[in-house]
Symmetry: C2
Subunit: 503 residues, 2 copies
Amino acid sequence: MRATKISGLAPLFVLFIAGAVSSFEDIEKLRIWPLPAEVSHGGRRMYLSEDFKLVTEGSKYEDPSGILKEGFDRMLAVVRLSHVVSGHRNSSSSGGSALLEGLHVIISSSTDELEYGADESYKLVVASREKPYAQLEAKSVYGALHGLQTFSQLCHFNMKKKVIEILMTPWNITDQPRFSYRGLLIDTSRHYLPLPVMKNVIDSMTYTKLNVLHWHIVDTQSFPLEIPSYPKLWNGAYSPTQRYTFEDAAEIVNYAGRRGIHVLAEIDVPGHALSWGKGYPSLWPSKNCQEPLDVSSDFTFKISARSLSLNLSTWEVTKLKKHRKTEAEAYEYFVLRAQKIASSHGYEIINWEETFNNFGNKLNPKTAWYWSCWESDCGRCIMSNQDKWYLDHIDTPWQMFYANEPFEMIKDEKRQSLVLGGEVCMWGEHIDASDIQQTIWPRAAAAAERLWTPYTKLAENPDKVTTRLAHFRCLLNERGVAAAPLVGGGRVAPFEPGSCLAQ
Amino acid sequence: MRATKISGLAPLFVLFIAGAVSSFEDIEKLRIWPLPAEVSHGGRRMYLSEDFKLVTEGSKYEDPSGILKEGFDRMLAVVRLSHVVSGHRNSSSSGGSALLEGLHVIISSSTDELEYGADESYKLVVASREKPYAQLEAKSVYGALHGLQTFSQLCHFNMKKKVIEILMTPWNITDQPRFSYRGLLIDTSRHYLPLPVMKNVIDSMTYTKLNVLHWHIVDTQSFPLEIPSYPKLWNGAYSPTQRYTFEDAAEIVNYAGRRGIHVLAEIDVPGHALSWGKGYPSLWPSKNCQEPLDVSSDFTFKISARSLSLNLSTWEVTKLKKHRKTEAEAYEYFVLRAQKIASSHGYEIINWEETFNNFGNKLNPKTAWYWSCWESDCGRCIMSNQDKWYLDHIDTPWQMFYANEPFEMIKDEKRQSLVLGGEVCMWGEHIDASDIQQTIWPRAAAAAERLWTPYTKLAENPDKVTTRLAHFRCLLNERGVAAAPLVGGGRVAPFEPGSCLAQ
């Protein structure tokens, strides 16, 4: 809808036309992913000045460690990545064109501590003619980073004038996530993932506003993490260089944190832990039984506790799998004791659902669960059902990721309020640096919209968002993310020549 | 072999031990890809100073546009990419350890013009105890860039000390390519490749010392390039944004050029040119016959000439395909006339071999050919046979790429001297931003060694270089290049959990 000036009727007409985007067809023209909570736009055009500035007057937030400035610079770099901006737009040359001189960011909280559950909302206005600055308001710097992300998706390259422009201004966007936990699991035990690959994954997460990187670090096959107090543990790595030093792990957490992403570091015990014994064979019950670890041994608890005390992140996951039914009691004993240890280090606890299914009533009542169980009243839950949200299931098409609704089976409002969010899982049996990004994207983006966008704005029929998701997939490609075609399941090669938008 | 000090015998013993690497087993421990012409090493270790410097005293080359400095900075960035360098090594803290303070680069030519056939040789010495600087000598800055690349592959991260080290010093490397034309073809007509993707490909080419990017820009399916004098031509693109502005194309050429890579821009006429008519329908012979272009029309030649005059690079390829036998004469007429036009713009000419097979004796005698024909005396040739060097044939394993020897069927020395080199081809029917790099690598690397390394140093049985190629593939992953596992053909997903080095 365009805003037009009609003498004598202008105020009324403008109010009438430049209203909220309400029809589904309008939404689908918006090309923003995930869809914001509330969006309205006009019909004008503005160009970004080649000296596009960040202005923070009036902001309580002083950007002590440069998180905002870096985010702003990254945003500008990414909108200028896919074509050379050779046209000139600045205050002297703009003439009659509407020039956007910069972005005015106002953040009300002065802290940059990344706390789970903190306010991620933002308001973005781009922009009125009187004010040649876009306006971004947020409670926290992490809300502001989400606002910058949305702003970047409004920017387009004008192929004729060769400048960055924003169409359909003025934009008025008010946005906040539906769920606070929006996660992606990656697995560095089945295949080692070098640091640049992990950073590429983290950057691509920010494009879809995912905010939890669940790092499944070790498992049966390899133990690639340095634990300073038990230096032989990482002898369980595939090779000396396929490992993360303590500083590498801290770098990952820091890189993610500065982008508003929590890192949930997961270390499995006592099952899935064969690789621990490569450096410390006494952890194995015997030479012939190397899994699970020996839960009758205090050493097992000592080493688990030390691993948990690495203090990489706020949450730790104790993933506990049952070995055999005859050891049910040993399993329960281990889990309860491990929970106590974790709790004593100040951690929140998340378990996989098997523990709930087996002895849920004995667990720490504050436990949250990775959950695919619909019927049980399991308290705080994070949806992660393998039939729909496991990315390694490459037969699962993006439509199923999009349609996977946490509240589909939960009608009770109180139980709904206990759903923290959800997580897509990129298990690593067939995933390494060569194919991880095309297996994650764009299907994880489909899930990301399910977790961010208000329920009423989501499409009932996923096929209705095909065009918008295709545009987003092509945007990912333009940003150097190897997102696969939409057609087919996961990581299918394009099956014929054609436009990115049609594949 | 280690260099050891034995009093009274030191000079003789050192000479004896630190000799040239001669046995194949020694070569395979070197972990350098492609293998240099001459290599010797010792048994010591040096650490890179955290203030590792570039020094150019005595060099005739003044680095007018920063090509050397940028190359040096890129080299340092890439060796520090995969782990956090948290240990400290500088002149004050090195104690007894051998510290490498920097790299002394001496270049004898003052020009930085990238000319085909220019000297790409270099000499690298790392380093004697007396001189805490590695020494790199080259005739041209592009030879020096190759030397920097080799230097980067000597660098390893010490997981214990957490610094960059070089093992087996002193190194003495003398190197130059076997062939001057070492190419990779990419195809941006079947699928548009965004600029960041092309830059990633160019960077990965430098790691294997490939030096020609054969850019197959347009074809039947799309015309994505801006031709300023015929602005409607790029209406044949898939969409407005899936296009390269003139500045984008110049940026690609510049980005590659600063890395020592020639860009060979290819525009096919009169066949494979349906997309031209989207903007200029009069180029089509009729509504029902849209390919090839109408060779009876002067407009066809005018528009072809203008396209060739873009001056993006020194060479242009006129790829001419026959449509039907009844038009053989029209085809020959077009090719000869097009060659004249190209020649008049100062271009060298390369044709695909069909023209040679059809009317080779009438062609410009300076023509070179993309060639898979073994028997004919076709003059200057660039090997590019589809049964072994087409990367889109994903059933072709890396061993076949490695083993494809230009001189296998040519025993006559004079004909051997006319072989300029070779090129692997990444045709784009099933290739886009999501899967291009895992389809190119590591198989293109196998071909790159065939084109760089002296014939006598190549393995007769490709399986002998498996370990060294696996290490190189993992190095590519650590540098953010999505190189696929070695096992299987092209772009196979890893089929089980395991070490990068074993897949």
